[in-house]
Symmetry: C2
DNA sequence: CGTGGGTTTGACAATGGTTCTCAACATCGC
DNA sequence: GCGATGTTGAGAACCATTGTCAAACCCACG
C-alpha cells in the first residue's frame, strides 16, 4: 500500500536511527542462535533498554526485508530471528539449544533450479533448514 | 511425554473409524494442493458432513504423525495440509494457485546428512520446499 | 441384543503470537 | 525553533491453534 511518489520527488528517507532500533541491533549482536521476538524483547530489557514489543516486531520485520536478519519458523510456527551473513545460505540448527551453523550448498541450489525448470515453474524461492542435536547437547 | 505401558499390556487400539475421520479422509482425497485446517473444515461442510473444527485439527495432526499427510507452513506461519505419498519427498508449490508437485532428491538427502555429520549433529530432520509460479499461472 | 469402559467429539473458553490503532513523540531539513 | 513526516508504545484486536469436559459413540464381551 505504499503510495506512488509524485514525479521527481526523492524517495523519502526511511529507517531513521532511533534509540529503539539501536537497541534491537545491539541485542541481535549479542547472540548467534535463532530467537523469538519475545526472547529478543526480554534480552533488550535485561540490557537496560526499554523497547515496546510492537517496535521489536516492526524492527525485526524491516531488517528481515532488508536482508540483514534471517527469519524462519520453529516447529510450532513461531517466527525466530537471527543476524546472518548477507549471502544466500541455509541453516543447521540444534533443536535443543538452538546453536546454528550457516551452510551453503551450491549443488542444492542447482538442484532446486533444475527441478523447478523441469516442471515449468518460474520466479523461484526455496526454504531449506536442517534440524538436529548438536555435539554439546548429546 | 507418552506414558510407558505396563509390560505385557496390549497397545490399546487407537484410531477408531468414525464418521468424522472418514469425512476428513474424504475431504483430503478431494484436492491435491496444500490447504489450511479451516479450508478443509469448510470443504467438509460443503460436502454435506458436519465435523467440529477441533476434530479436524485432531485428525489432521494424527494423520500427519502417522505419515499419511504432510503438513507444512505457508509464509504466514499457518499450517497447511495435503495427502501425500508415504515415501520421503519434498514439494514444488505454486505460490499463486497452490499446485503441488512432489519431488525427490537423493543427492540432497545425502548432502544434508553429510553436512550435519560434518558438524557433529545427530538425530536429523530437515525441511525443503520450493516455491514458484507454475506454467498455468504464468 | 444389552452393558460397561475406554475413545472420540464438539461447543466453548483459553492461549499466545502477531498485528492494528492512534495519540504522543522524535527526527530531519530548513 | 518549526512544520512535516517518520516512529513509538500501551493496549485492543485478531485469529490460528489447543485445552476443557460432559455427552455421544465404538467395541468387545457376556
Ligand atoms: Zn541465516
Ligand atoms: Zn538455497
Ligand atoms: Zn508431501
Ligand atoms: Zn528430504
Amino acid at each position: 500500500m505504499t503510495s506512488t511518489d509524485a514525479p521527481g520527488t526523492t524517495q523519502t528517507q526511511q529507517r531513521r536511527p532511533t534509540r529503539q532500533r539501536r537497541a534491537v541491533a545491539a541485542a541481535l549482536a549479542g547472540f548467534d542462535d535463532f530467537r523469538s521476538a519475545q526472547e529478543i524483547h526480554d534480552l533488550i530489557s535485561r540490557q537496560g533498554d526499554s523497547v515496546g514489543l510492537a517496535t521489536v516486531y516492526r524492527t525485526l520485520s524491516s531488517l528481515a526485508e532488508a536482508g540483514e536478519v534471517d527469519m524462519l519458523r520453529n516447529e510450532d510456527g513461531e517466527a525466530i530471528w537471527r543476524s546472518c551473513s548477507d549471502t544466500h545460505h541455509h541453516h543447521l540448527v540444534c533443536r535443543t539449544c538452538g546453536a546454528t551453523v550457516e551452510v551453503e550448498g551450491p549443488a542444492v541450489e542447482r538442484w532446486t533450479n533444475a527441478i523447478a525448470a523441469e516442471h515449468g515453474y518460474a520466479d523461484l524461492s526455496h526454504t531449506l533448514e536442517i534440524f538436529g542435536t548438536c555435539p554439546t547437547c548429546r
